[in-house]
């Protein structure tokens, strides 16, 4: 493996990892703050991709389509929290798993009814549809770099919001003590609704920006959900920092797994998880 090829794989791994972080951070936030395990999280990823695909039939710009898709996803997330998830706060994990599993079935079927069972693709926008040449034969696509940049910027933004703002303070307080937050006069229902909607938006955004470099099809949400579980298990449930490092680790493991052992590519991430569980059953950063 020459050095440029290796570098490209590292970049690919980081890009995939950053994208995974965006999805997994919503999952881990929702668990950390609200105590909810949300299997339907991957459905928001799918929703973001399909909404973008659908909106692109009416608008020209990918950016505009994504910008329009996000508030719709937020609204769907907020509604689901208000109508269904709210019942689950006082229930055990098993009920949470089942109810959100039921939601997945509904999401998947709704997707099929609205957009059919075909696999679709989205074009990379012209402005970003070029590559940076590295050697005579190797180059790196700019769009992938753009994805990495967006994800990294959002990671930093999320860190700042949680550590430095009042909203972030509420989130941190809500995570440790729901009743205390209520006592402070903060509307917990509204706060939790907002967190759930935020998680939905993060997942939908990931699905949307990843759409041009991957395919849009049935079941895409399930795949990403399970990889995110692996990320969260490795990083430690509820830990944003853990999700970040776990996501990078999995991004690299998956990418290099595909290069080094293509027959067992999907296997490598689980091998990493098993190894972490052997050494640190509660995750690397719990």
């Amino acid at each position: 493996m020459d050095i440029w090829f290796f570098l490209i794989q590292v970049l690919n791994g980081l890009q995939y990892g950053l994208l995974l972080f965006l999805v997994a951070s919503g999952l881990t936030l929702i668990f950390g703050i609200m105590g909810i395990i949300n299997l339907a999280h991957g459905s928001f990823y799918m929703l973001g991709a399909y909404l973008t695909f659908w909106l692109l039939q009416s608008v020209d710009s990918l950016l505009l389509a994504i910008v329009l898709a996000l508030p719709i996803s937020a609204a769907v997330g907020y509604l689901i929290e208000a109508l269904l998830v709210r019942v689950l706060y006082r229930r055990d994990h098993l009920d949470q798993v089942l109810l959100t599993y039921g939601l997945i079935l509904i999401f998947n079927e709704a997707q099929r009814m609205l957009w059919g069972g075909d696999v679709h693709g989205i074009k990379v926008p012209a402005a970003l549809d070029w590559s940076i040449p590295l050697t005579d034969t190797l180059s790196y696509p700019v769009y992938r770099m753009a994805i990495s940049a967006v994800c990294a910027a959002l990671a930093v933004g999320m860190y700042l919001v949680i550590q430095r703002t009042r909203f972030g303070m509420w989130i941190r307080a809500g995570a440790s003590n729901r009743d205390m937050v209520a006592a402070l006069g903060i509307n917990v229902n509204l706060l939790f609704g907002a967190v759930f909607a935020l998680g939905a938006v993060l997942a939908a955004l990931s699905g949307a920006i990843a759409a041009p470099i991957s395919s849009i099809g049935p079941g895409m949400g399930d795949t990403v959900l399970i990889i995110c579980f692996v990320v969260v298990v490795i990083g430690g449930v509820g830990s944003i920092k853990g999700a970040f490092l776990g996501a990078l680790l999995i991004g690299l493991a998956d990418t290099f797994g595909k290069v080094l052992a293509p027959d067992f590519a999907s296997f490598s991430v689980y091998a990493v998880m098993a190894a972490v569980l052997l050494v640190k059953p509660r995750g690397l950063f719990a």
Binding site: V87, L105, F264, M273
Partner: protein
Amino acid sequence: MSRLPRSLSILLSVAIILLGAYPLFGDVLFPNKHAFLMQKLTGIMIMAVMAMSLDLLVGVAGLVSMGHAAFFGLGGYMLAMLSPEYSAANLWVVLPAALVVVAIASAMVGYLSIRTSGIYFIMVTLAFGQMGFYFFNDSKLAGGSDGAYIMVKPAVEILGVSLLNLGDKRTLYYVGLGALVGVYLLLRVVLASPFGRVVSAIGVNENRVRGLGFDPVAYKLLAFTIGGTIAGLAGFLAAIQYGFVNPATLSWHHSGEALVMVILGGMGTLFGPAIGAFVFELAKMGFESVTEHWLLPMGAMIIGIVLLLPKGVGGLLLQLFSGRSKMEGGQ
């Protein structure tokens, strides 16, 4: 496990007798659909075995596994991989071999998963289940994502004399019924044993069990392995029935369905999840006959169960027949 109320035992026995009699009078009742229904019921009874094995984990030991289908699927794949292409495998060889492999796999997954608890356990079992899915989906071991066929059903012979012809639909039906009744009785016996009492207690209060002098890890691991192996048996039987295995049998959607059966039937009651398998599969049939978008009402039904019927049909029956407000002494 304490006894069921007498009237409920009678009701369940009658249900089993009716199931046993069905192949004899089915073609009178449903002349057009008899063969189809008998096949369907065979499949449901096999799923009931799977649901009971999951109940041992979820309802009894308190281990919410979302990867149980991996062991079901592995059981089927073992049959496919051990069967010669154009001749019959010897059941006395392939069944034990398949179960041993599934037992080892469940023990390994269990060993890693049981180090975690709560929400972690759910995510880890789901991920390991999916690992099994990708193992067969991506590798060329047994047809990859296309799955594999079992052309000839295994032979059940003693000293060259054929005991059962598994190619016969009615025979297979009774094998399924036998598995259902046999596994139910086996699990009842195990749950009444010292081991079963400790496992039941772990499901209620693990820490107290530790304080009384039992190491919960060992008991949970063994319960996980037993549950996984029984699921493997169910998968093995399903593979005989359909003559085909594919990666979807290991997938987490299949695990999710089994979990729904357990809750729908009433977890911790053992007979409940078996009923849950019937209700679930019949509801699925009903939805499928009404709309091609049957997942929509199915999803709504699952959400409805969680919201309205948290103790399931089995809990309802126990309440009805015992007149007690809680599932006291049960489990």
